[in-house]
Amino acid sequence: MNDHERSSSVDGTVRVGDLTFDNPVIAASGTFGFGGELAPYYDLSVLGGICTKGLTLRPRAGNPPPRVAETASGMLNAVGLQNPGIESFLEKELPRMLSYGSRIIANIAGQELCEYAELARLLDQTEVDAVELNLSCPNVSAGCLAIGSEPHLIEEVTAACREVTDKPLWVKLTPNVTHIALCAQAAERGGADAVVLINTLLGLAVDLATERPILRNNTGGLSGPAIKPVALRMVKEVYDHTDIPIVGLGGIARAEDALEFMLCGASAVQVGTASLVDPGMIFRLPGEMAEIASQYGYSRLAEFTGRLQFWERT
């Protein structure tokens, strides 16, 4: 048996709550548009799922530029949730996204609790497979970061959305907190089907010549390989303290990274910033994960989830 035959015998199917995915690889919100830019070049059905750009009730112009800054092994961004608004999404983007043959997760962001519930309600009767609450965007002046760092608000907003939709509810958590597990437990109490972590780490890039921040928003969200160790630690912490599935992300740039997240407790993974540098990587990932799995003697990718054994304290 050659490598390809061996890897194709690995079952990539994973479950996140009641939702089954052909493979654990999902395109992360804000790094894949609505899929239309890459669809002419790649077969999007290869992916387990696609998360939309963050959607708000009304269209948002986003932040003024510069919005991005390169950092060591990563980047900062402060796009500010530029999006056409939920109405335009449902009318123009969703029908096309549904034709891609991949699961569609709608990422929603509000400034207040009631906006999240309204967005969830509007998505309830649509064909999206899940709703991801972005409780963690660091780049808008009011709202979601504040909600995302207060466990009682996380619970409240999750519960408010739970009330208006039967769609699987995923809660995307910010790492800019002291106790990530408390935030995950709050989402669980609110009725979340899964938690997604981590979003970007709040950061600052400085221009020595102008004595100004590089980003017009001053601060931005750090992503890329630089944040992977932080993300792995948080996924493991949440895995040990909650009973709902975890979708892990933060700096995944190759198949090994994705499997490390699964070992730490992730049932599925998202790939974000890596797609900005190598847009083809995410499409190779499911196959490469299967290949590595077969080398380690696994027959199902789902078997990786949560197998990490911490050393005993001495």
Binding site: G33, L38, Y41, A61, V68
Partner: protein, 278 residues
């Protein structure tokens, strides 16, 4: 674009030739048939370096028969420094051609205004215009006579060419926008004077682009500007490289430099909000 689905658009390419124009500026010829096949003036490629993000580089010309594209690069930071230091034979990962370039459709006469390294994408447009038998004028702005780029090549590119410099010593004493004004005013036979199908294209520093856009607007000549913005993906998915434009209601909206641009209709650009940008 005739790309086979599933094949993607990230290519391994080889640097076929490198010419240093000055210690900070290089022409790289990239052996990249897939890029050369569909490249058009004003488009760019994303090149990998050892840095995290790719670097957007404008295409200076494309030779479909040879399968090569020529890229003009000015060292402006660690990534571009690394690129101009690359020797022939070096392998690089390239994505492209990307973005929306200059439109020469329905153009009877092309007036190209380039400042410094902003001349690079303009060269491609003038070569295309020549192939399409469009009458051409080039206005090339430099800081000084000593800082001209590719002077012989530029001289033979357009039917008429004017080199300008604030420091004097070239055809026109003043900046490229002033040279454009002077050209347009010279006579009824001057560029844009009588064809009715004239178009201005421009690339260079923002103050030059803004001045050229104002001149074009004043004379009712359509104008394409090639803009820059700090860019991450280059392929339209991250919304990082925002350019401020005015929407139909006159409100500020942001478009992607890499996707709706890098070439924009000058009359749509929110110039007041471009100040302070690269």
């Amino acid at each position: 674009m005739p790309v086979l689905k599933g094949k993607g658009f990230v290519y391994q390419a080889t640097i076929a030739e490198k010419i240093l124009l000055d210690p900070q500026t290089a022409l790289l010829t990239l052996d990249a048939p897939a890029v050369a096949r569909t490249a058009s003036p004003g488009q760019f490629v994303q090149l990998s370096t050892s840095r995290f993000l790719r670097r957007p580089i404008s295409i200076l010309s494309a030779d479909r028969a040879r399968g090569t594209v020529e890229l003009g690069i000015r060292a402006a930071g660690t990534g571009t420094e690394e690129l101009i230091g690359m020797a022939a034979g070096t392998a690089v990962s390239v994505i492209g051609p990307l973005g929306r370039g200059f439109s020469l459709e329905n153009t009877g006469e092309l007036i190209a205004v380039g400042g410094g390294i902003g001349l690079f994408p303009v060269i491609f447009a003038l070569e295309d215009a020549k192939r399409l038998s469009i009458k051409t004028t080039l206005i090339a702005g430099f800081r000084s006579e000593a800082q001209t780029l590719l002077p012989e090549r530029l001289r033979n590119l357009a039917d008429r060419s004017v080199f300008s410099s604030d420091a004097g010593g070239l055809d026109f004493h003043g900046n490229a926008a002033e040279a454009l004004s002077s050209e347009l005013s010279a006579s009824a036979e001057s560029p844009g004077g009588n064809s009715g199908r004239a178009k201005i294209i421009t690339c260079g520093p923002v103050p030059l682009l803004r001045a050229v856009a104002a001149i074009a607007a004043g004379r009712g000549i359509p104008c394409d500007v090639s803009l820059e913005s700090r860019m991450a993906c280059g392929i339209g998915v991250c919304l990082g490289c925002a350019v401020p434009v005015l929407d139909r209601a006159g409100e500020i909206a942001y478009e992607r430099c890499c996707y709706e641009g890098p070439v924009f209709d000058a009359s749509r650009v929110a110039w007041r909000n471009m100040a302070g940008l690269v």
